[in-house]
Symmetry: C2
Subunit: 405 residues, 2 copies
Amino acid sequence: VPDGIGLPAVNIDLLGNEPAIIIGLMSGTSADGIDAAVMQVGGVSRPPAWKLLAHLAAPWSTALRGAILGACRPDAPLQHICALDVLLGDEFARVAQYAATAAGLPMSAVTAIASHGQTVWHQPEPMEIGGGRAAGTVQLGEPAVIAARTGRVVVADFRPADMAVGGQGAPLVPFADCLLFADIKETRVVQNIGGIANATLLPAGGALQDVVAFDSGPGNMVMDALALRCTDGRLACDLDGAIAASGQADAALLAELLEHPYFARRPPKSTGREQFGGEYADAVYSRAVELGLSSADLLATAAALTIETIGRAYSDFFAGFGRIDTVILGGGGARNPVLVAGLRARLAPARVTSHVEFGMPDEAKEAAAFALLGYSTLRGIASNVPSATGAARPAVLGKICLPPL
Amino acid sequence: VPDGIGLPAVNIDLLGNEPAIIIGLMSGTSADGIDAAVMQVGGVSRPPAWKLLAHLAAPWSTALRGAILGACRPDAPLQHICALDVLLGDEFARVAQYAATAAGLPMSAVTAIASHGQTVWHQPEPMEIGGGRAAGTVQLGEPAVIAARTGRVVVADFRPADMAVGGQGAPLVPFADCLLFADIKETRVVQNIGGIANATLLPAGGALQDVVAFDSGPGNMVMDALALRCTDGRLACDLDGAIAASGQADAALLAELLEHPYFARRPPKSTGREQFGGEYADAVYSRAVELGLSSADLLATAAALTIETIGRAYSDFFAGFGRIDTVILGGGGARNPVLVAGLRARLAPARVTSHVEFGMPDEAKEAAAFALLGYSTLRGIASNVPSATGAARPAVLGKICLPPL
């Protein structure tokens, strides 16, 4: 089965020749809520044609968000993880139903649901246990529950298959970025700024094997955590970068933060709350207090950290690919004027634009990406990008769960 | 797709008309090691013809067994669970390779691997979390790892799909018992005595929907835990019931133990280490010390508890199905002369026999059952027994994981 973008497939195809309707579901490391995208994908063209039919975001309830963030700890208790897994499955199913409705479709018209789930633990570096060593990743939102509530085939749990062939299990969106945004003439970077910032280089005319992608470091995660601390818990984020805009980045603190060994590490690499979460933000906050920084200067420094680590990542790791023509910003950070202006200055002469120019609003992109990954799994197509994840070979990602009768 | 035993199927079939070779893998609640069975299943007959090609048991290393038992706690830390999941996947894959070799087959001749995994938590009763309530179950042994190591399609994680339609996620072996042992003329009970004891009633001429199955209570779990305590850790079990045989069951303690509310509860019901594990055995041990019982009398009482709870379960819950002709004993308890003699007396006039009479050695049965469950999943056939698990409807169990390229 040729896939048209350079990766092979196993001899299994659970889809016919008609375009499939796939609902992609995603909740990011920030645990804000579930993003859903209804995608029409496929038919006979390779790479498959796609069209976004609807998308929506549904926030977690305060209680559930609390339970999720409480579960993002190395010592989160098994019993809680286990119950939360099922409860989140219910929520993903509910949002899938909303999404079908938003697209004007009965659930019976949906071919499949592709759910990333909610990451509560991602540990690509092996740890010792039971006389051996193993890495691991945990995404919650039991697919059997989603299948039972919706009556649809569900594809879920995409990361372990990449890690099983030596990859870091992230980033996975580059496959979708390539299908959605690669161009024959332009070299493009898709720059997502969620809790973590990740960059995908799509060389002009490049096939999937030429894609380079990795997490550059924190996106909004450090800024959000510091906004919470600086306002004694009143603000969960520095909306529109208003506080940061009123301050000045502190060169000394920024220089210290840039010393974090993650930034100099060569890709493939990925990171998350484990490295840049609450403990890290606490340490940054304490250091700012020692240095006598105002809240505004501290938040400006945190914004500068995101901008500068992205800029350095391009200089250090995309240098061999020639001029970057266009940077396509996405994620919550793409709506932060301080970050956008900072990146435009830092990345010039590249044109900095947004996903919506390409028919894919950035807020729909990650969920749409998982719809494309689910589609690929049901076609038996490998969808990890080994150069991005570090995997030794292509893998068909995800587990397929059939609905009850 | 008719399945010939009365349950419907979804319109998905990943198998052709040739018989499939499926390796079933299982590690029970006792966490002794991995049992593997290589089954030839299927072709065009319904119910499918089967043949056991090979079977083996591979013990866990001491370090891994320690890590597994350490993970069977409500507060087992997420990070350990996550790494152990991957590590056990490696072990299941290694044992699948041994099993193929034992059957004289290259791995490429194997159609699929069906892995139950290692249960570390099973909680069919909902608990409160995040403003909601949910039950849950956790089996370790990442199927993506098994697929990567073996290059085969893997079906795994069978229990959540039954729980998603309101079932207890157990017992799942009744589907296989029906395929393997149901008879047109005889009413049979398949009585497994592992850590937990479970009974499956196969009414004469019965189709799958007539099957009744449930966990009667402890099998070897309490006896094993008490043997360990009575010998200050020198004996992991009372081999051949030698200690119990030298004692007398204490009627007073037995009567107290029979008061446990689990025994009187009507099926569907299932239980495990959560109810009859270490804490329970500690309490029984303390009570025996209070009563001044010898080790021999305590172990005889524990054996009597298993025998009597099985006997009462038949009287209480199989009464409406007429005479039981044959009881087919299986599990480690079937090799304990004290249990076998006790059950023969307690269940007379039923004929008490063993699995081997039917071409299926009892030590291969649970692994073979998961091979049959995996086969069914790949055919899109529902394989829970709603009357046994309490599920509201038939469900196709398990998740399908495709191999990398």
